[in-house]
Amino acid sequence: MKKSLIALAVAGAMTAPIVAQADATLYGNVEVELIMGDDTGVDLTAATDADAGYTGASDADLQVDDTILGVKGSSELENLSGVEAFYQLEVEFASNKNFDSSTDTGEVATRKALVGLDGGFGTLIFGRQNILAESVERMDKYAESFSTNQYFAFNDRVGNAASYVTPNFGGFEAYGQIVVDGEGDEDRDDVDGGIVGFNYSLGGFDLAAAYSEMDQMNADTMEVYGVGLGWAIAGLQLDATYEATEDNETGEESDMWGLGAAYALGDATIGATYMDFEYDDSGVESDEWGVYASYALGRKASVKAQYTSADVDGNSLENDDFDKFVLGYNVSF
């Protein structure tokens, strides 16, 4: 009996490296934030109070911001020389409901579920994945600011998608991403959306540009144009983004621009951003500035403090202040 236990233990120890050889990386992230602010859910780009979800409330919230768990890996394709297959599954758990319950019954959301091929020809990605155009959104530094989810025009990720990214030619790469969704919209187009763009890096200089046209729930499309610029010099990182949208159903247009600066001091970084958003038709304008400091406690853990303050003009929210202060602690693995 003892012997068989030892044999099992030895077998168990032996299997560990074999699992590692399968090249699957388990990774994840948990961030807890203490947020103190005005109306953390208010939509500053909305035309009316009702649309904005404005309640005038101010409340503190100790919340789990990211609860992400993922598996990714790759393997050489023996029958296709020089080509590698890769995959990624990433889910996010809702963790901020039912504070008085032993469990959180929130849903599990799939962030990414993709497979791909990587070789000398470039990279192909299929499935639910990052929007490649996000490279223009260079100042996406505030996880909990008003602007991050409201001013930026591109979603973070897209589903039902196929992408092609060219190989990198001396810092230049181009990409195309299409969405093929068989349901959810009124038209019966096979291709429901497309994104094209490029990224270029030279020295500390970065340039990104992207264009997308996506079906909405109706038959008309939403067009987005974006340009991002970055410049890094001696610990200082400067960023700029411009985006414009046009809704082909309502004809409504919006544009936003933003500037950001970050300065690295060893494992600490301090930064500031300013963003300006405008709806051309409704006349709603809002802008936001913010400062932050983040500290890498180690390779996998960090803390941050950030403050953002937003101001709205052109609707009945304009007499209200919108400030938010966030302390966060992040551990990834």
Partner: protein, 235 residues
Amino acid sequence: MLKLCSSAALGAVLLSASLSVAADEVPSDPDPWEGFNRAMFQFNDYLDRYALKPAAQGYRYVTPDLVERGVSNFFDNLQDVRTLANNLLQFKLHDAASDTARITMNTFFGLGGVVDIATPFGLAKHDEDFGQTLGYWGVPAGNYLVLPFFGPSTLRDGIALVPDSYLDPVGEVDHVPTRNSLYGARVLDTRAGLLKAEALVSGDRYLFIRDAYLQRREYMVNDGRIDNEFDADDF
């Protein structure tokens, strides 16, 4: 009265004493107002001997070291605000960025400044005030001047105490008893921190502290870069 006492000036009085300096190295006559200064020095010394020092000794006696350290860190963190502003005024942008990171880290993750976690994190503490800023801009120190309550200073550094007072977060506290308690606690903390350094003072206390103060200020204005005249001597 305690409210008037500037921790910075008090700190300079005795911290500077730790620098042993030969009096004959001070150029020309830096102290034409010696008569007035000696009188003020006597006044301050009297005040210190019979009020401040006994209070500081009592504070050290009854307070655990851990608490003393926390109190010191708390006031050091507030002082970093002054340092940050003066680093900006001296265009030391890297240091100013570091001060910002220090203040943010210690305030929000160091229990309001009670724990100095920024220093072990690699964000070194700086010490800048408006007197140093004026010196950096080229304003000469002027005559040596002993201020009542505030201690050793110069014409330049004395005037510079005024703008620095606007950079003191304690002054922003609206609740007067709280503000005065903070002033008092800071004076005690500063004085208690200097008790050990007193033993280094030798000879004429007035001359020792004057020369030590002037040399230390020059050292601080130049951020440690002092023209070394050692090799220029005729030997």
